[in-house]
Amino acid sequence: MREFEGRPSRRSLLRITAGLGAGVALGGALTACGGDGEPGPSTDGAGSATPGPKRGGRLRAAFIGGSNETDNVLMAANTPIDYVRARVVYDELCVVGPEGRVQMQLAESIEPSADGKEWTIRVRDGVTFHDGRALTAADVLFSLRTYAEDQANQGPLLVDADLAAGRQVDKLTCTIPMRRAHGFFDLVLTQGFFVIPDGTTDFTKTPGSGPFVLKEHRVGQGAVLERNPNYWSDKGPYLDELELVSIADGEARLNALKAGQVEYAASISLVAGQTERGNSAVQLLTPPKWEWPNFGAMLKRNQDPFTDARVVQALKHAVDREQMVERVTLGFGEVGNDLFGKHLPHYAEDLPQREYDPDRAKALLRKAGVDKLSLSLRTSDYEYGLTEGAVVLAEQVKRTGIDIAVDKVPAADFFADPKVFIGAHFQSANRKPRPLPLDVLFFYGSDALLPFTGVGGDPVDGLVDAVRSALTEEQRAAAVGDMQHYLYDKGGDLVWAKAPVLAAATPQVRGVQSLGYPTFPSFRDAYLA
């Protein structure tokens, strides 16, 4: 069956927080696959900076859009096409740059006080919005307060910031007190907080300060954007015009590219990637490895039989990860190690790769006194890899005497009820990478927003607090490391593989950067060679 990608709107923290991380080597640029199909850096791919960007031209890019599109900047994650548009019309204070560290955009500096109880943000001088207004620190405070009020979007991310008590110090500087010591508020600010003018009431017609100005947008059809002649950076934009077109189906996007109707086609299936590997007219683009989604499953550690760590360990040893890479990621991916954040800073590289060991799994089950383990795995076709992985897992664990029934729910129902989704006993996961400190706060501990694995209490809450309050790089590395070591042994995450989100482009397209969001990359530095 053909995949239809006009899925439920994902105006969600998933989109907003999905995997900001380190842009290794190429600063988060999408890299072209080599001729042999091996994803990797290439000298003539989209990630290449040589011989230097060319100015001018018009680039047409196809993304998933549809009838759910909106002009509302606060709801930019409604569809990928909305977010891609917002990313060039608006600026953020900072984004995630190379090595998973914060890279300034509108901000000149974002710094904590010595105790982490207050953060000071200073923005660039000489930045103007598209309507000519000059950017000040008041716009920053207004934007963050607006986001904080909206609990349905990124509001929950700002929970530790006391924005009401934030104040403007001078034209370009403001301070924001924290409710408790916070060591990485700058990392929080990389999670899709666009800066809009103070006093904005109509969020659908808000001017931005980004490299492109919106000329026209028609819901479900697309948008035309023109370069902003007054853009504050002396580097970009390089294109005269950027046209975003809405095509729901992945196959159709690729066909449009091959027929010369567009120059860039977002989110191409791995199967299509396999087919186009040898095609010199199509450039396959892969994001840096840290941005690759994690395929796996989540087990509730506070529900039987997963309260017994030996049962969880047995399952972890019953998975043949190499086969998962081969069969589910079609060779594009790499093995996982039951942890998130691989290739990101602070990832526990020192932990050994967990091996496929059916005998050990059987022995662990025997020790736990489990004769016959029968489980039901909740899964869905919501995204590629969920059902595929579940089916392969069910097959693999049979060799260990574990019986897994695959319970496939309709895509639209998979996360329809948060109680069911968060409360699921055992369910498939396709988690987008995000910087590890954020990941820890989101998913673990008694205060976790999404306690999928039910890991909390002592000692987890202490480990989470240590991550939050770590002020120096050394403290943070140690705290995240402790957390990862704990999760490796006692956590309920099964991560068997990571695989890229593929995109396709004509060979002329350069400089498209995923910057943490491979499904809706940034075109601010894109150009046509």
Partner: protein, 333 residues
């Protein structure tokens, strides 16, 4: 006492009046159908797990975010109240705003309804003469080599799924010959009529599936009619074949087929999902799918009502046309 007289004009007006009554009755029924459709759509969405709030905030949002969204959209109020409010606004022509994007539903639906109807109309204009032509041609030569070849061809066409036909067409005409666009997307501000070339492959794909069905219907009727005594008599009396077809075969064969053809129109307007997906054609079916997945009741209601209204009207039109073409039914009952 005079005997009741029948005025001559009343006799003449009788068919017209009964026709008017029929139309009025059917339109009234149509309104009831629309009401029923809206109630069914609303109830079905209520019964489905989750709601617009959980769909809108997505899988990574916590329960608090969902509650907040629910309040914002007014979904925390009782279902009957929400339905009554929607109905009252809809009756006055206000279909509300999308739960998912906050954009007025009329804005989302209008352009796409136009695109879908254009696609349906162009397909129909080609479908009718082709299906009738092939049906008559085969039906008049029943059992001949031509008829059998045609029947076999038609059967083959029926059995090839739309997405295969469409994919092959894209491969040949867009990717290989490069004479037609692979994907029927429209730039912002453009309409289908500005770019008629984007209709070609979708229309051909739709025709491939529908011609076969309809030609079979026509053929079966023609075979029946051609065996009729009247046709045989006409032929024996030396009436030229084209007159036999036009005067005797078609008038008898077509009326029962027309309402069946009419059903396809509604299917083309709201049910061309495969074609919309394959060609990225901005039509109504994908709005319905996206809307249902997002539990976006206002959007789904609007599309469902448009499709239901088109179905009611086209079926009425088909029946009227059937009556107009059938001499027997023109007499008042």
């Amino acid at each position: 006492m005079s005997e009741p007289t029948v005025r001559p004009s009343a006799v003449r007006d009788a068919p017209a009046r009964s026709l008017a009554a029929l139309v009025a009755r059917r339109l009234l029924m149509g309104l009831l159908v629309l009401g029923a459709v809206s109630l069914i759509v609303f109830t079905a969405t209520e019964l489905a797990p989750g709601d617009a709030a959980s769909a809108a905030v997505g899988p990574d949002a916590g329960p608090a975010a969902v509650e907040e969204k629910r309040r914002e959209l007014g979904l925390d109020r009782p279902a009957p109240v929400r339905y009554a409010e929607w109905l009252w606004a809809a009756v006055r022509g206000d279909f509300g705003t999308s739960y998912v994007s906050g954009v007025p539903v009329s804005e989302i639906v209008t352009a796409r309804a136009g695109n879908s109807m254009t696609l349906a109309l162009v397909t129909l204009v080609l479908l009718v003469p082709l299906a009738v032509g092939l049906g008559v041609w085969g039906g008049l030569r029943e059992g001949s080599l031509t008829d059998r070849a045609l029947s076999a061809g038609i059967l083959t066409m029926v059995s090839i799924p739309e997405f295969v036909v469409g994919s092959v067409l894209i491969l040949v005409f867009a990717l290989h010959l490069d004479v037609l666009p692979a994907v029927s997307f429209l730039g912002p501000g453009a309409s289908v009529l500005d770019h008629p070339e984007i209709l070609v492959l979708p229309v051909v794909t739709l025709l491939a599936g529908t011609i076969a069905h309809n030609a079979r219907l026509v053929r079966a009727r023609v075979v029946e009619v051609a065996a009729d005594d009247a046709v045989a008599t006409a032929r024996l009396n030396g009436v030229p074949e084209h007159r036999v077809v036009l005067r005797y075969v078609l008038p008898a064969a077509l009326p029962p087929v027309i309402p069946l053809l009419a059903r396809y129109v509604a299917l083309l307007v709201g049910g061309a999902l495969v074609v919309e997906t394959l060609f990225g054609f901005p039509g109504l079916a994908s709005v319905l799918v996206q809307g249902s997945a997002g539990r976006d009741v206002p959007t789904v209601q609007a599309v469902a009502l448009i499709v239901a209204a088109v179905t009611v009207l086209v079926n009425l039109l088909g029946d009227l046309l059937g009556i107009a073409l059938d001499p027997l039914r023109r007499v008042p009952v």
